[in-house]
Symmetry: C2
Subunit: 339 residues, 2 copies
C-alpha cells in the first residue's frame, strides 16, 4: 500500500524552503510514500531542481492562507489556497492525509468545512503526544478550540481514548481533565461540569489532573480546552529552550567546565535528543472524516519531516477507521447509558 500525503507547502513560518525540502527527505526515507506538493508553483519549483520527482507531484494552488487571517475570512475567500486544495485532495480520495504548518484556526475551520465531522463530534481537536517520565501521554485540545463547553471536553476525551485504544491496542485507557487542583471543588465551571459528564461517561476517568501531571505519565489521555493546552505546550517548549541555554552557559563557564562538557558530551547529546520537541512535531486533528496533521508553524526541516512521518504512520495503522468505530461505539454506549 502506498501512502499519499498532500502537503500544504505554503504554510508555516518558512514556507516551501522547509516544507518542500522536508518532503524530499520524507520521500527519500520511505519507499511506500508519495507526496503531493500543493502551493504556488513558482515558489515550490526552485526547491525541486535536482529532485527525483517520480513520487513527488506538484499541484498548483494560487492563494495562501496567511498566519493572521481569521478562520472565517480564510474559509470564505481562500478557495484556491494551498491549505484548501490539500484538504480537497483528502476529501476526494486523491490523498490519504493532509499535513500543514499553517494558520491553526483556519486549518481547523477549513478541515471541518471540507471534510465534515464524525457523527457525534462537534469540533475537531488537536491531539499531540508528549513525553513523560514513564512513557508518553496524549493531550488534547492543544489550540483548535479556545472556548470549550463541558460537552466538547467530553468529546475530546472520547476521541483521545479512541485514538490510544486504536494505536496502542489498549482496552480502557485512562483519561484525566486538566485543572488547577485535584480536589473536585477546584477549577472553573466548565471544567467542573465536564468532570461530572466524564464521571458518568463509562470512560476510565481518573478525575482532575494538574499541570505537573502532564509529565508524570500516570494518565493515558489528558483533556483541556485549546487555550490552556496551547499555553502549557508552548510554555514547555520555551522552558526547554531556556534550560538548553542555561546548560550551555554552565558548561561554558571556565576551562574546567568546558573539559567536563567534552567528557559529558555524548550524555548531554542523548539527553537533548530525548527532549527535543521537534521529535514530537505533528499533531492530529481528531474528529474529522479524514486525517489532518498539524505541524508547528515554526518547524524546521527535521521537525516538519517528523510531522510527515507521523502522518504516514497514522494512515498505515488505520487510525481513522479505528477511531470512527470507537467513537460510534462510545456514542452508542453513551446513549444507552443515558436511557
Amino acid at each position: 500500500m502506498t501512502v499519499t500525503v498532500a502537503i500544504d507547502c505554503m504554510g508555516g513560518d518558512h514556507g516551501p524552503e522547509v516544507t518542500v525540502r522536508a518532503a524530499l527527505e520524507f520521500v527519500r526515507k520511505h519507499e511506500d510514500v508519495r507526496a503531493i506538493l500543493v502551493g504556488i508553483e513558482e515558489k515550490i519549483r526552485p526547491f525541486l531542481s535536482n529532485a527525483d520527482e517520480s513520487r513527488l507531484v506538484l499541484r498548483h494552488a494560487s492563494e495562501v492562507v496567511t498566519m493572521d487571517e481569521s478562520p472565517a475570512f480564510a474559509i470564505r475567500t481562500r478557495k484556491d489556497s494551498s491549505m484548501r486544495v490539500a484538504l480537497n485532495l483528502v476529501r476526494d480520495g486523491e490523498a490519504d492525509v493532509c499535513v500543514s504548518a499553517g494558520n491553526t484556526g483556519a486549518l481547523m475551520a477549513i478541515s471541518r468545512f471540507v471534510l465534515k465531522m464524525l457523527p457525534g463530534i462537534d469540533r475537531p481537536a488537536i491531539c499531540a503526544v508528549l513525553p513523560t517520565i514513564s512513557g508518553h501521554v496524549h493531550v488534547l485540545d492543544l489550540g483548535a478550540n479556545v472556548d470549550c463547553s463541558p460537552e466538547h471536553l467530553l468529546q475530546f476525551a472520547i476521541m483521545g481514548v479512541s485514538l490510544v485504544g486504536a494505536i496502542e491496542h489498549r482496552e480502557r485507557p485512562s483519561v484525566g481533565i486538566l485543572n488547577i487542583g485535584e480536589e473536585e471543588i477546584k477549577g472553573n465551571d466548565v471544567v467542573k461540569r465536564a468532570a461530572e459528564l466524564l464521571k458518568d461517561s463509562g470512560l476510565n476517568f481518573v478525575g482532575n489532573v494538574e499541570g505537573d501531571d502532564l509529565y508524570k505519565g500516570e494518565t493515558d489521555v489528558i483533556v483541556c480546552d485549546g487555550f490552556v493546552g496551547n499555553v502549557a505546550l508552548k510554555a514547555s517548549e520555551g522552558l526547554v529552550q531556556m534550560l538548553a541555554v542555561f546548560l550551555r552557559q554552565e558548561f561554558g563557564r571556565n576551562l574546567l567546565t568546558r573539559l567536563a562538557a567534552l567528557i559529558a558530551l555524548p550524555v548531554i547529546r542523548h539527553f537533548k535528543h530525548r527532549v527535543d520537541h521537534r521529535r514530537y512535531n505533528g499533531a492530529s486533528l481528531l474528529g474529522l472524516r479524514g486525517i489532518v496533521v498539524k505541524s508547528h508553524g515554526s518547524a524546521d526541516i527535521f521537525s516538519f519531516t517528523n510531522a510527515l512521518d507521523r502522518a504516514a504512520d497514522t494512515v498505515r495503522t488505520g487510525v481513522l477507521e479505528r477511531i470512527s468505530l470507537r467513537v460510534a461505539e462510545q456514542a452508542r454506549q453513551q446513549v444507552q447509558g443515558m436511557a
Copy 2:
C-alpha cells in the same frame, strides 16, 4: 526596623513539620525578623522544643482550613483558623506580612475579606517571579482567579507594572498578555477585549505573548487568567522534574556515563540549583491593603524558608506603599485618559 511575619503554620501539605522548621531556620538566618507561629498549639509545640524562642511567638488558633474546603465555606465557618488569625494579625498591625502554604482559593477569599482591596482593584492576583533566559519575569495571575473579565486582566497589568516599577525602580516596565498567537485576531474574547483595554491604558503594552515567551525574558510583566497561569506554572514544574529524571537516567546508563557524571557533577549541580523551582517559591497576593505571600502547598523546608525570605524582603523594600501609590496614580491617569 524589625519585620514581623505571621505564619499560617497549619497550611500546606506538610503542616508544622515544614512551616515551623522553616520558621526556625528563617529566624536563625535574619537578625531583623520575628515570626508569629499561628496554629494548633499542641501540633506546633513539638517542633519548638530546643528552639531559641526569643523571636518566635506562638499564637494558638483552633481550626484549620483544609485543602478541599471551598472559599465560601472557609470564610463563613473557619473564623479561628490559622489562616484567618494570621491575616487578622496583619490587619491589626501586629504583623507586617502573612505567609501561608494553605488552600489558595480560601487564602484569597479570606485575605480579601479581612484586609480589603486597594481602591480600583476588584480581586487579588497571585504574582510570582519566574526565571528567564535573560533574567526574570513577573507573571500574574497564577491561580487566584479562574474566571477573569477583561477589566480584571487590565487591573493585573496595572498591579504587575506597579510591583516591578516599585521593586526594580523602573519607569515604564513592559507588559504583555498571554495568548495562543501573536496576531491580534487570536485568542478568546476575554483576551481580545483585555488587549484593547491595555492598548488604551497608557501602559507600555507589548501585545500578545505566547507560552514560550514566558521564558524569553523580553517582557517585564505577563498577565493571564489564573487557570491558564496555574497550569502553565505547574506544567513547567512537572517538566523540570521530568528532565531531572531523564538527566539522572542518561548519566546512570553505564560505567562511562557514570564517570562523565562524576566529572560533570559540579556543573550539573550548579545548573540544577539555577532551575530549582523551590528557589522561586513565595508568590505575592497583589491588590490587597496588606501583604500576603502564598507558598506552594507542597513546599519543603528549603522552599518554605524562601517564601519567608521573600515575604520579609517585600516588607523591607516597602512594596505595599509603593504599589498603593502606583495603583492610585495609574487609576488617576486611567480616569483622565477616559475623560
